[in-house]
């Protein structure tokens, strides 16, 4: 018993070390001035300084990419959360056959690899002669985010007492009030996890954005890094940026996960 425990612990830690090596690597080399990764020219906070003062080459490009990424993720996941929650409530009331059709359609964007979603939406916008840019990227992100919201809200709906909506109507709520005052609060945990999932997927997306951003020069962090890497040199300030993003997420997740057991015990 003892040996298997030690072995499994070693296994997990080796995996974690390998998984985190590149991230640690980025973090370490964010504290030196050198342009390329892996080139240590002594400790320096210049990159962080540059990042916050914006005094770097092509600073506007990187900063607007960060801004775009956050804004697109925020809009797309907000819309996806509303659309998906409404849809989940509707789907749960559909006749079995219609429900099957909806869940089949809902599965397509989740199964499709990014590149197919990207190419097919690209063709749609070309076909409809829609100028690609901000709007098309947001629409594309809503497309691949909403299924995850539906998937997160559905289980909450099935746990819910089936009469709860009717109980609200019975007590004098209009359908809209019943949605706002009863269904949404009861479904909130599912909506939140759907929103978070949508938000992170939108942040991380590269392929779909790549195909739907058009030629107006719209960049998100992913497309910016891609273009940068293909040009040859990464903007050095990406390293501190990534380090900061990682640390923020690490702290947030650790706080959430270490507090959780206590709250459930109460």
């Amino acid at each position: 018993m003892k040996a298997s425990r030690i072995l499994s612990r070693i296994y997990i830690w080796v995996l974690l070390i390998v998984l985190y090596a590149p991230i640690v690597f980025i973090a370490v080399f964010s504290f030196t001035e050198a342009k390329s990764l892996g080139n240590w020219t002594g400790f320096s906070l210049d990159l962080y300084k540059n990042l916050f003062t914006g005094s770097m080459q092509n600073s506007s490009g990187l900063l607007s990419a960060v801004k775009n990424t956050l804004l697109i993720a925020l809009i797309a996941s907000t819309v996806a959360t509303f659309l998906g929650t409404l849809a989940a409530v509707g789907v749960s009331r559909l006749k079995p056959r219609n429900r099957q059709v909806m869940s089949f359609l809902n599965n397509i964007p989740m199964i499709n690899p990014d590149i197919i979603t990207g190419v097919s939406l690209f063709l749609l916008f070309v076909f409809l002669h829609i100028l690609q840019g901000y709007t098309t990227v947001v629409l594309a992100h809503i497309t691949f985010c909403t299924p995850y919201v539906v998937l997160n809200v559905m289980p909450k709906l099935s746990q819910l007492n089936p009469n709860i909506y009717e109980a609200a109507l019975d007590l004098g709520a209009t359908p809209m009030q019943a949605l706002r005052k009863v269904l949404v609060p009861a479904l909130r945990p599912g909506m939140i996890s759907g929103f978070i999932l949508s938000f992170t997927m939108s942040l991380d997306d590269f392929a779909v954005t790549f195909f739907t951003r058009g030629t107006i020069g719209l960049d998100t962090l992913s497309t910016y890094i891609y273009a940068d890497a293909r040009k040859g040199g990464l903007t050095p300030e990406l390293k501190p940026l990534m380090t900061i993003i990682f640390l923020v997420i690490l702290v947030v997740l650790l706080i959430i996960n270490t507090r959780k057991p206590k709250t459930t015990q109460q």
């Binding site: 007492n161 709860i164 109980a167 109507l169 007590l171 004098g172 209009t174 009863v182 609060p185």
Partner: protein, 464 residues
Amino acid sequence: MAKDQRIINIEHLSKSYGDKKVLDDINLYVREGEFLTLLGPSGCGKTTLLRIIAGFMRPDEGNVQLEGRDLLDTPPHLRPLNTVFQRYALFPHLDVYDNIAFGLKLKKVPEDEIDKRVRKVLKLVAMSDYEDRDVETLSGGQQQRIAIARAIVNQPKVLLLDEPLAALDLKMRKDMQIELKEMHQKLGITFIYVTHDQEEALTLSDTIVVMNEGKIQQVGTPTDIYNEPVNSFVADFIGESNILNGTMLEDKRVSFIGHDFDCVDKGFGENVPVDVVIRPEDIYIKKNTEGEQFTGVVRTCTFKGVHYEMFVDTDSGNELMIQDYNAFEPGTTVGMHIHPGDIQVMKKERVANTYSGTVTGEGKVEFLGAEWECRTDGFEEGEEVEVSVAFGKVDLLDHEDDAVTVGNVVFILYKGDHYHLTVKTEDGEKIWVDTTDVWDKNDFVGIRILPKDIRLSKVQKKDE
């Protein structure tokens, strides 16, 4: 006089789901202030009827009026009715106080009045100290009280209760029954209560509406329904009973279990087949057999707390259920008698299976959605005929092979020496079967009838 005022009036209400008729031409009125119970087995349409009154469902046909005004076009949130839901449907994100205040807040009732009214109903349901509690931390019975409080705080004209006690355990259910009854008296509003529990219905109601398969079987006071069931379904569903085949010999004279008895019923005609209902507590049982109406041998005897329940095989080979305060050992020969007033005679709904059919060829007739072999002498191909099959001549098989059609057992009635089954065929028609074989409800059966047992007759022209 206000008691006799009709608060709800229901006319010709029908509702189908696909091919299934869940409500079939319901006509009913509810008097102001009464406690009315819709009673029936699951799937009888009672909940559908309640949901139509509440406004969660629209009927296909018919009308519902509240205080003389049409109700159907009013959406549920504008109806002056409130519902206590099955499994409560309390809002999990609100505490006890906010659950109860929900309806009042929507109506923009002033804050201090809400406060007053919430506290008043909390006191009424004996939950005064619980206002800040999270509803999910409450027990079933407590949630039930909050669900009732949440409904009555709005002072509805009618309170609808959909099997509110079904999820509680037996002890809790009994306590809540008493409280509900008291609450009804205190509040003075009309209660419409749905349940499948006949005992609950008898305990609580002013009026019971017995329903089965989308139709009202009987409407009456608990005593009426118990003492004078109008058909074998009601007799079987309400309380324990012995339901037996009998023959009305003449007025006030009926024959069953091989003996003739005096009774109080009349107007059936002479030598007419009837159903006879005897409640188990109405059969008087004695050790000595002399001077008694009939005799029998005790087979089993079980103590039921207050009384003993015995199954007795009579001299004519019937089985009777008898309840008595005295125990009789199994094997004892006993004498029994029944008072004329305790014999409830009911007209038989049917004495044989009858269908309209078509002769489809030499020796072949079509009815019940299938083609059967039988003798067709004297009938022509294509002729419409009346088909009659005796209850006892239908064979039920536990497989499809050799069967002409198939169906499911939907209702079982024990008649002392045999079972009377109602079997629903695939296309929704029914066939009644007398058998001594034991089947369970919902059993899938194959149906076979021997050619000689299918009787054909000319269609009688009704307009002559």
